[in-house]
Every structure is written in C-alpha cells, then in structure tokens.
Amino acid sequence: MRGLAIRLVVIAAVAAALALLPFGLSDYHKGLAVRVAIYYIAIVGLNVLIGYTGQISIGHGAFMAIGGYTTAIMSNYHHTNLIATLPLSFAISFACGIAVGIPALRLSGVYLALATFALAVSIPQLPLKWSKWTGGSNGIRTHTTPTNEWLYAVSWTCAALAFVGAWLLLRGRTGRAFRSIRDSELAAASSGVSLPIYKTLAFGVSAAFAGVAGSLFVLVTNGFAQPNEFGVILSLQILIGAAVAGLGSLWGGLAGALFVGLLPEVSTSVPLIGSGHGQDVVFGLIVILVMILLPNGVAGLLRTIDSRFKSAIKSDPTAS
C-alpha cells in the first residue's frame, strides 16, 4: 500500500511538473518538449514489443511514416480535424502492425531484425513513387498548423494516455501472456498461451503507438510530411531510446525519450566540439558507452541503486 502511495505521489509530481513546464519554456523549447513526448510514445510502443514480448523491430519508423502520412493526407485532402486524425492513425497503424506481425511469426532474432529493417528502408520510399497523392519529395502539409502550446498539451496528453494504456494492458492477463512468451515461447505455448494471437497483438499495439507518434511528429514538423523525415535514422533513434531506457520499463522510456530528444541539442553547446558534426561524435560515443556500461539501461541502473539502498537499510540494525 505504501509503495502505491509513493508511486501515486511520483506520478502526480511528474504530471504537475509537466503541466507547469510550458509557463517557463520559450517557444523553441516547447517544440523540443513536444519531440520528447513523441519519442516517449514511440518508445513505450516499441517496449511493448521488444521489452515485454521479446520480438525485435528495427523498423518502427515505417509505422511512424504510416501514421504521419495518415494525418497529413486526411488533413490536406479532407480538412479533417487534426485531433480526429490521431485515432485514425492509431487504427490504421494497428492494422498494419497486425499485417506485419503475421508473417513475422515465422522469424526471430537477427532475421526478424533484418526483415523489420527492410520495412524501415522501403516504406518511406513509397511516397516518392506515388507522388501524385503524397506530394513525393516535395512533401505534403496539413491544412492548418497548430501552435507549440497546442502541440505541447496534445502530445503530453497522448504520452500520458500511452503510459496508462500500456500499464493497463501489461498488468493484466495479456501482459502475463506477453512476458511468458518473452521468457520462453515453449513454456508459454505449453501453458496454453496462443503464440500467434499474442505475438501479432504485440506487433499491432506497438505499431499503433508508433503511428500516433508519427502523426504528432508530422504536426511538430509544422504539419509537413516528407519521406526523409521517416528515414532509417528515425527507426534507429527510437530503438536507441528504448535500449537506453532499459527494456521492460515504462518509466525508463522517459529517460530514453529525453536522451534521443535532447542530447543532440545539448551536445551542440559542448565547448570545443560546438555545432556541426561534433554532435554526432558525442551522440555516437554516448550511445556506445551506455550500451557497454549499462546492460539494462537507465531503468536497470535505477533498480540496482534502489535494491542496494534497500539492502543497506536492511543491514543497518538501527533502521528498523
């Protein structure tokens, strides 16, 4: 009970901080905060797939492209309300995720990684071919562009919904099924968990989250969708975020999102390195170091510290 109380207090504190943040941020930094929220949504989605179900995807940028183009096209051609495009992106990406998840049942490990990578490379190229409807490399834009304040409110609300949604999904029967598949497919199947159903479901949910993130990504890029936005790098950034965060932790995703969303910005102001491509050097180095030094990401580090702290308290006779 006390654990829950602490947790609620933490949630409330984070929520309050996020709600108050826009008052203290410049327009530009609000835009950055929106990007963090977007990365968070995508990372939570990827985490459902990799961290909880044990399936790899290095192609989630493809689902972001699907969501992003859904929003841009609906808004451009039909002047659909921007908020209304979000559930639509969710649904379409979910369906695409299922469609990818079914053949993915045949693959695992490196082969699944390569197959999803193929998606990350190919899907964003397709708008170039059908440029009549998608604007090709000129891109396509939404009929209105929201302000950064609007974006901040909407994206962080979505991020909160993603958190709650993932939490609810993962704490129940479905979550148990996911985790049992991750730990051992054989054991899961023999205890009555349907591998095809749950593995495809994980793909669908994860893709749906990525789709919404993609929609918001287009909106924060001033309502502009263009194939290069969803390049391989985006897929890899989400993956990096998820791994830095520590797979299998919803909270950790926030650290991952801050990492990929803010590190390039921060590293431009590092003296000596400055702007330009020095930031790539810093980013690459830190990614490698984190992976080598923190096997379970930031969340794992926090867990370790937490348990050391607890055992320290236990071994201290005066503490009880």
């Binding site: 490990g109 990684a113 193929a118 993956l239 990096i240 020095g278």
Partner: protein, 328 residues
C-alpha cells in the same frame, strides 16, 4: 573434426534447384547480352556495381559468422577507410601504395573495433549488438565529417579513363577494374579460409568456440582477425565505389543497404552466397530499371528489399544456406 567438414559444406553447398536456377540465369544473361547491346551494357554495369555490393555483403557475412553481429557500421567503416586512402594520396603517395597501406590500416582498425566495442557486449542480446554498431555508425560519420568535411572529394582514377568497345558495347576500363579487384579480393579470402591453417582456426573459432579452444585455438584472436578481414573487404568496397560516385561521407550508405539484401539473398551464413547475391542484385536492379517501366528510380531500394523480405519469409537461410537457424 567431423563437425567442421559438415559445416564447410554449408558454406558452399547449394541445393540442386538453386544451382540450376543460377545456371539458367547465366544462360539468360548470355543470350540477352548476345542479342541486345543495351542488355549487355546494363549487365556489365550491373556486375561492376554488384561486385561492390558483394564484397560489402561478404564483409557482413564474415562478421556474422564469426560473432553473430549484424554490423550496421560496416559501410561507414568502409567509407572512413576510403578517406584514409584519400588522405594518403594527398600526402603524395601513389594510388596503389595508398590502396595497400589502407588495407593494412583497415585490418588493424577492424581488430580494434572488435576488441574495444564489440567484445564487451558480445554475449548480450541481439539488440545490444545492433545498437553498439549503430552508435559506431553515428560516431564514424561525425568523425569523418569533422575531419574532412562533407563536400565532394576526388581521388586519382585508379584504372584510368579509357573506354573499350566490343561490338556495340562499351566497357570502361574502370568498371572492369572494379569487377576484377572485387572478385580477386573475394577469391584471396576464400583461399585463406579454405587452405590455410589460420583459415581453419578461424572457422573453428566461429563455429565451435569451445571445441576450438580445447585444441589450442585462441578463439578471441581468431574472431578479431575475422573483424579485421571484414574491414579490409569493406575498404576494398569503399575504394572501388569511389570512382563512380566520388568521395562523400554518405557514399556507402545506399551500398550498405543493397549489401544487406545481397547477404540475406545468398544466406547470412554463406560467404559464396553473399557474393553471388551481390552480383545478382546489381544486375537484376539494372535490368528491371531498363525494361520494366513501372520500376522507376524511386523503387530501386524498395525492390531490393522486397527481394530480401521474400527470401526471409520463404527461405530465411538464403539461397545457399542449409542450416535452420533458430536463435531466441
């Protein structure tokens, strides 16, 4: 030892339908080239390009076989070593001296990358390995752009600019040179693997590390040498790419993507397969681009990756792989 012979078979043993398919494809290309100059021209250009895909794909396969790593930084390593060669020519060294010096430097670089970056995470998840190589990708890109800038650079033409004519087909000396150098490096590597003690030890270390260690093979060193050789192949690919697209930090990125497709097509475990896969993809893309109106330049990459997806779904081990791989 029994284990080794069985595994050796895996690397070269294609099933009968695959062999027949390849023979049929060769016959098709020969007849096509004999009847149409343009077909021949596109085939030659495709082979030259495909040889480069093949050598980079082979580098990927070498590393995968040795350490089960999909090296996303392979293309960037190749690019970086090409810049090193460029720097050597700037210092006044001749092209071919720079070429061989660069291969040496690449070998050392590959070993260092393995020892410093890969070994610490080698026994972790596929994801950890993927991300470390992605980090390396970004790091190399940043370092090269920092040092040399991102604008187009030109190296001396290694094969000269002559053009030969045979019938209605023109062969650039450069294309022939690229093809020969790539194929030659692949053959040399094959000889090294198949007929030397070092090659045997490397294969043993990759396939049966525990058993190899028992008979006195220094497994870690052998894996490192695998990385070194892969870097050398990458350098060859980079240097052979430079004459057709010139030197920029992004020059190997599209090539790496095609190399992935080639490696999967041939079989991630099969060195010979990856080279044939590279040649096949190079020729296939050029012919499709020439004769299929729908396949415009935008679809080059998606087509290559569609091939990759189909192969993965129908025969994940590729055309030349036999072993059913299941790693969870």
């Amino acid at each position: 030892m029994l284990g080794f012979t069985r595994k050796t078979k895996v690397s070269t043993g294609a099933s009968l339908p695959v062999v027949l398919g390849i023979v049929a494809a060769c016959v098709f290309l020969a007849i096509g080239s004999a009847t149409s100059d343009i077909f021949a021209q596109q085939t030659v250009a495709g082979l030259a390009q495909g040889a480069i895909f093949g050598s980079l794909a082979l580098a990927l396969v070498l590393i995968y076989r040795a350490t089960e790593v999909i090296n996303f930084a392979q293309g960037e390593l190749a690019m970086a070593t090409t810049y090193i060669a460029y720097q050597l020519t700037l210092w006044g060294l001749s092209y071919w001296l720079s070429f061989f010096l660069t291969l040496l430097i690449s070998f050392v670089l590959g070993i260092v990358v393995y020892g410093v970056l890969i070994r610490p995470v080698q026994h972790r998840s596929v994801i950890a390995l993927v991300i470390v190589t992605v980090g390396l990708f970004i790091l190399i890109d940043g370092l090269v752009t920092w040092k040399w800038g991102a604008d187009l650079k030109f190296m001396p033409a290694p094969f000269g600019n002559q053009v030969y004519h045979a019938g209605g087909v023109s062969f650039a000396r450069q294309d022939i040179g690229v093809l020969l150098v790539s194929i030659l490096s692949v053959i040399l590597l094959w000889v090294l693997f198949q007929f030397t003690k070092l090659g045997l030890a490397m294969r043993a270390a990759a396939l049966r590390p525990a058993a190899a260690a028992l008979v006195g093979v220094r497994v870690d060193w052998m894996l490192a040498v695998g990385w070194g050789l892969a870097a050398v192949l990458g350098a060859v690919a980079g240097l052979m790419t430079e004459p057709s697209v010139f030197l920029t930090p992004t020059m190997m990125q599209p090539i790496l993507l095609y190399a992935f497709a080639a490696a999967v097509l041939g079989g991630l475990e099969s060195p010979a397969g990856s080279v044939i896969g590279g040649l096949a993809i190079g020729v296939f893309l050029n012919l499709v681009g020439q004769y299929v109106g729908f396949a415009t330049s935008e679809l080059r990459l998606p087509i290559a990756f569609f091939v990759l997806l189909v192969v993965l779904l129908l025969k994940p081990t590729g055309l030349f792989g036999r072993r059913q791989v299941r790693r969870v």
